[in-house]
Amino acid sequence: MELWRQVFIYGMNVFNLLIVSYFFIANGVYTLLMVISLAAVWLYNRRLAYQDLDDIRESPVTPPVTIVIPAWNEEQIIVETTESTLQTDYPELEVVVVDDGSNDTTLKRLIDNFHLVKMDLIYRPQIPTQTVRGFYMNPDLPTLLVVSKENGGKPDALNVGVNICRTPYFCTLDSDSILERDALLRLMRPVIHSPINTVVSGGIVRVMNGCQVRDGRVTKVELPKSRLERFQVVEYLRSFLFGRTGWDLLGGTMIVSGAFAVFHRDTVMEAGGFAHDTVTEDMDLVVQLHHWASKHNRRIRMSFTSDPVCWTECPSTLRMLGNQRRRWQLGLCQTLWKHSEMLFNRKYGMVGNFSFPFHFYVEALGAVVEFLGYFMVPLAIIFGMVPAMLYLLFVLLSLAYGGLLSIGAVLLEELTYRRYPSYRDLTRLLWYAFIENLGYRQLILYYRFEGVVRFLTGYGRWEKVTHVGIAN
């Protein structure tokens, strides 16, 4: 009995150590990211004053781009997304919509709306994909090509797009998203001006819920009505404005949102395209590209910029939010596991030494540590191993610090882009940033924990997030 007691006490002490180390590592790195992002985004915003887009728009040297939109059962929104994408301000642009074997009217709506006709065109796949059923084009609208294929998942649909694309760069865009008119020009700016081969360029994804949309454009930015969506606005701001920016500055980019990102086609081809063995094909590709560059001794650059904006529809119900977050966490675990040789591997520089271990410990394992912490630490209090007062204070500190980071993201938004013009929305944003850690964070933690459990039990299916069609 005594032995078991000793084992229990030892186990609890180890876990408490894990919790404390997790708290300090996570918050320490987040603080570092926030501080450097505050400086960098402010500076970048100032630099925009002399970075005119006209020279990119008018230059014959600007490389052509193909926007690839994978769509599966998106009848609610696909026409609006395609229409708005066709209006994108870019000198040489093609749009490829890949219908991934939808069993709703996605394809029909596209055919009817754009007067497309079925054609038997040549398909030369360099990356193997599911069978292509047909190509749809309107000879009077040669910039749009719709491809219908057997269902094979999002990465497969993206690979079809990559196979078809003829331009040196392609941009992936989710079918529930709307690009700002000049977003692609802005996204291509680092590609054009960088002396190093920029193979990935990511932009910011903002929440469209609550905004007014007309003719495929966001015309008025407002906060959504529901609390769940408002929390996600704060979360997106934090994630994109200082998460991605910070990692980009440190040279440790591991995640670029596939909802809106530009990729160098030949490099992606050489790296094998989008893989099917994870449910977050965008993150997997980015990590794969690091891997490929190191293996082939190539000097590449990945860039994240905060001014090209893509508006997306975030989940409006708990069920859909759960689907999305479980998938993200599952994909994170799958990707980290798949590329585990990068962990503390000097060959991969900043990514191997810092970014990968952080994502592994804080983002992947952290979901388990934090979730179990809510049960284990009270247990430790009951057994008298931790004073209740200390625990309470620690929880309060954790919540207050979380609030500080979220409010920091709102400050960053206010210092730079100020997309929410009304005072009311601003104060609401601040309030939601403050209370985000009371309930919402725990909910997300629960979904993330479920994602890890799914990874451990070998569950690997895509969970569809259904959209209500805000842009419609």
């Binding site: 500076l43 079925k118 040549i122 009077d140 054009i192 001006h193 002396p195 500190l397 610090y401």
Partner: protein, 493 residues
């Protein structure tokens, strides 16, 4: 201090209070910032409302220049310079307004300040000014002064201030990459011939250095915007021992030439524009360069030369071992001037590389009726499966099928019918059926199609005939479809 639990509790409590205070401070900063920005924008709007019409009138010549200048000189506020900049450079001026705007900026003293700032002579702001005004902060902190210097370089380019080009050339050697990049752009806007060579030197550095500051694309964009006559200064680059330099130089000239040609379809390059030496370079050296990229990029320039050796040189390039050289050459030949040589393009329809075949289809399609005739003849005659596939692809992409179907109805059994029959044999029937389905009102077209193609062993056609036989409202047409089906079944048995 001993490591006691009470001490840890005190430390955590202290951290908690600090975090709470941090929260409150950030909220305060956000709200304060919003208020200050609102005031700032209100001030700019006010200024715009008050002086915008004056500026507009001066630029359009509705108000006397001296009177307008005097009014604008009256603007007085702590950040007067910034406000004037905002007012004058907010919109891109029309070409006719540019000289007035330039003069205005000079007379308001803006140009002098921009030039001084570009050279690093920035009046330092007081601490108070730095805290109150973001512009003051930039002037106070040395590390941030590159923002002001870059903006000054940009402003000089925006008004195309020609006398400033030597300063901008000097800025090309600045240690700050932003200043260098903006200087390149401003020099491209001013287009002073004297700045072309320094830009070419920068291009060489970007190509040859292992860690260049400026991207090749940035410099190419700048150089391409210069008038074609300045391309003569690229001659030493075309002779450079490094093949990469020769490639970018050739590519820049190609872009310049294609820009001119886009504005003027009859554009021809002669020795007066390019210089005899360069013309000879393009005809004698570059098509035989060791670097295939150079050979490829030289083809479009050669295609625009007014010289008898052009066609033979291009035909040599059509036989090049590198597929992209052949591709660029075919693309260059897609010009009405080379219509007599269309058969040479048609010969590339059997090229082993599909991109060359695809370009050849497009090039011939660009020749109009004559090109389509050549495509059709080739399609009917060739035994090369890949070539036939490529031409079929081109027929569909360019929307030729409805035209072929219409001709088929008119002529009954002409060349167009043969093409459609070939397409049906290849299984390329989706587009035909789509056209027939969309033109339901055209009974003659439907009947003709049913009669000509109804018995083809193509699953799509068969399905269409079945549908006609079951659902067609026109009794005669339905009967014809049923008859076709029956005949098809008999043939199958």
């Amino acid at each position: 201090m001993p490591f006691l639990i009470e001490n840890v509790t005190t430390v955590v409590l202290a951290f908690f209070i600090l975090a709470l205070l941090g929260n409150l401070s950030l909220v305060g900063i956000v709200l304060l910032r919003r208020r200050r920005r609102d005031r700032f924008f209100a001030r700019i709007d006010g200024l715009r409302e008050q002086y915008g019409p004056v500026l507009e009138a001066v630029l359009s010549g509705c108000t006397a220049y001296a009177q307008g200048l005097e009014t604008l000189r009256q603007i007085s506020c702590p950040d007067r310079l910034f406000m004037l900049e905002q007012l004058c450079l907010e919109k891109r001026p029309a070409p006719a307004q540019e000289p007035v705007l330039r003069r205005l900026c000079e007379d308001l003293g803006l140009v002098k300040i921009w030039q001084q700032r570009l050279m690093g002579q920035i009046d330092q702001a007081s601490l108070r000014e730095a805290l109150v005004n973001p512009q003051g902060l930039l002037r106070r902190v040395k590390m941030l002064q590159f923002l002001i210097r870059s903006k000054s370089a940009e402003n000089l380019g925006l008004i195309r201030h020609e006398p400033s080009w030597p300063l901008l050339v000097k800025a090309l050697e600045d240690p700050n990459p932003d200043i260098r990049m903006v200087a390149v752009r401003s020099l491209a806007a001013i287009q002073h011939p004297g700045s072309f060579v320094p830009l070419v030197e920068q291009l060489h550095k970007s190509v040859l250095e292992s860690a260049p500051v400026l991207s090749v694309r940035t410099l190419k964009t700048a150089l391409v915007s210069f008038p074609l006559r300045d391309a003569r200064d690229l001659l030493p680059s075309l002779r450079h021992p490094d093949p990469r330099i020769r490639f970018v130089a050739t590519d820049i000239i190609r872009e310049m030439v294609e820009r001119e040609a886009a504005d003027n379809p009859d554009f021809l390059l002669d020795q007066r524009i390019m210089g005899g030496e360069m013309v000879e370079m393009f005809l004698k050296n570059l098509p035989f360069d060791t670097n295939p990229d150079v050979r490829a990029r030289s083809a479009p320039v050669i295609a625009h030369l007014a010289d008898q050796r052009v066609a033979p040189t291009l035909f040599t390039l059509l036989e090049d071992s590198a597929w992209f050289v052949r591709l660029h050459t075919v693309r260059s030949l897609a010009n009405q001037r080379f219509l007599p040589h269309a058969s040479r393009i048609a010969a590339t329809l059997t090229d082993p590389n599909w991109r060359v075949r695809e370009t050849a289809v497009r090039a011939l399609r660009g020749f109009g009726r004559a090109g389509v005739d050549l495509l059709t003849l080739h399609f009917l005659a060739t035994k090369d499966r890949y070539s036939r596939e490529q031409v079929a692809d081109g027929f569909q992409r360019t929307g030729l099928i409805p035209e072929l179907l219409a001709c088929c109805v008119e002529t009954g059994n002409g060349r167009e019918t043969a093409v459609l029959k070939n397409l049906a044999e290849m299984g390329k029937t989706s587009y035909m059926i789509s056209v027939i389905e969309r033109r339901k009102g055209n009974a003659e077209l439907r009947r003709n199609f049913l009669m000509q193609f109804g018995r083809y062993p193509d699953p799509q056609i068969h399905h269409w005939v079945e549908q006609m036989a079951e659902q067609e409202s026109d009794f005669d047409m339905r009967a014809l479809a049923q008859e076709t089906l029956a005949a098809h079944s008999r043939e199958e048995m």
